[in-house]
Symmetry: C2
Subunit: 313 residues, 2 copies
């Protein structure tokens, strides 16, 4: 095994994932634990770090860096948000560090980003900025990070992140499936693309009627237009269709053309595949589409930030 150079942690709300990275930033080993921020009591983070990757800490005296909710108010220590537009170099110069209880070794925490829209609405992210800077996407365009709280991030040719928007798509799908009347008729089974695309088109065509159109998951089931095994994918499509319609309006380019120059989806493979399917159905342009695994993007982003911060010696 090459000599390890960095321990990089993607430390989120529910899970923590650590990677041991080699001289070129390559992944030498990974491990993960259900020790996300919500599972750790105040004061318990040094012990959690040991539990996640204690063996590596003993064996390798390398720098430590983390991004994600670990830098939130509920995390180890709050790493104040940086404002957009933001550059990787500015982020790397703003790391917050904490004592780990391992002698002089500190854990460096990446700040989150925030931005404000013309109406004064704030938006925030923690962890996704690291993935965007590790995505290897073309330098100018849109990055989409599907998930519980999907992020759409605009990126300029100079590498800066200009603005971003959060969509509650994943969380809405979960709470509506589990806790609302829309879940009552659902039977879960294999992915049904026709039902998904029916939802995408309905959502894409009716973004301004969201809280009405969602009820069609109920009526389509009641009236027999869709079988019980179709309803979850139909709801998924509706929510993603509405997200695409809204985001493409908010991120449309200044010259009035509707599409971005290129688009990169970063995250879970199956979920990104849904987004790409939806995108290919409704997107207004044939711009290049790239897909990147979320874990790979986190590792590469943490590596890039650590290097810019001078942590790699």
């Amino acid at each position: 095994m090459p000599q390890p150079c960095l321990i990089a942690l993607d430390w989120g709300t529910s899970n923590a994932r650590a990677s041991l990275l080699g001289p070129a930033g390559e992944s030498l080993a990974t491990c993960s634990a259900a020790l996300g921020v919500m599972a750790v009591q105040t004061g318990g983070f040094p012990a959690a770090l040991q539990a996640i990757c204690g063996e590596w800490l003993t064996e390798w005296d390398v720098p430590l860096i983390a991004s994600g909710m670990i830098g939130s108010r509920q995390g180890w220590k709050e790493a104040p948000y940086l404002d957009c537009p933001a550059q990787l170099e500015a982020l790397a110069a703003s790391l917050t560090s904490v004592e780990t209880g391992l002698g002089e070794r500190r854990l460096h925490i990446v700040p989150g980003l925030r931005c404000q829209d013309s109406g004064g609405q704030w938006d925030v992210m923690r962890g996704e900025e690291t993935q965007v800077w590790g995505s290897g996407a073309l330098r100018s365009g849109l990055c989409v990070l599907p998930g519980t709280h999907s992020k759409w991030v605009g990126r300029e040719a100079d590498g800066s992140l200009t603005q971003f928007r959060t969509y509650m798509t994943g969380e809405l799908f979960a709470v509506l499936s589990q806790h609302s009347i829309l879940g009552r008729l659902m039977e879960r089974g294999p992915y049904l693309e026709d039902a998904f695309l029916t939802g995408v088109h309905r959502g894409w065509g009716n973004p301004a009627h969201a809280t009405h159109v969602l009820f069609s998951v109920r009526t389509a089931g009641l009236m027999g237009n869709l079988g019980p095994d179709c309803l979850a994918d139909f709801l998924s499509g509706l929510l993603i269709g509405m997200e695409l319609a809204s985001a493409l309006e908010l991120f449309q380019t200044g010259d009035g053309s509707a599409g971005p120059a290129d688009i990169c989806f970063i995250g879970d493979e199956a979920l990104c595949a849904r987004y790409v399917t939806a995108w290919n159905c409704v997107a207004p342009s044939d711009c290049p589409v790239v897909v990147q695994k979320g874990h790979d993007a986190s590792e590469r982003g943490l590596w890039n930030i650590a290097r810019a911060a001078g942590l790699l010696g």
Copy 2:
């Protein structure tokens, strides 16, 4: 007490409410029980009826009529939907009746209504049609029935219900407050109108970005723009603002003017007051606004239907 003429039941998902009505349709007595459709096993409806208003059944040999979810597939017996546009007389001619176990006496169940929009989406209601026909509203205009599933109902000068739309506003408020991240920072307290109206304006101005704008309940709390005691009313305002924007677009009059001739809110007093507050802030016209208590509208509607059906002799 005047001679009772009708036992009228508003029999919904969670609760059943019975009224004993006099010769002019006036309410002589009411009672209610948590014996909604979801609380009653198959075959248990005759006993539930006894539990709700057994004394009246023994004492008064008068006709029985009910509307609401009691006519759904999960209710006592399915009363097939009538299509919109629908007239009161057609509804009264389509009652479904069931044996009550009380000799010859039957319970007459009012059908629900359904309609289909130009995109093929079905919408359904059960119980609200009865309230609209009992609302005493001007004969032409819009009726709004706020609730778990808010209904917007268009009514013509000839008394027919032309079309309607459901909004999941109440249920979204409940599931997002109780089960999503938006509830995490909320502290419930007295109604705060400023926070509510901030939400109304934000929702009204951004109906096409619903699943993004909802996240502002999180960020407004995180960034300190709104205190924890404001967040529930802010969310309520957001959802109602989006509902108003969508409904006014869908129900705009054929001549292109945005407002209805008149509007009637039917339901719970405090909830209707929120809708009227929101309406007065953002509505595009100064059309007359009427508010009607939901229970009164149900009683009056059941009376009107029973009379049209010839049940009152």
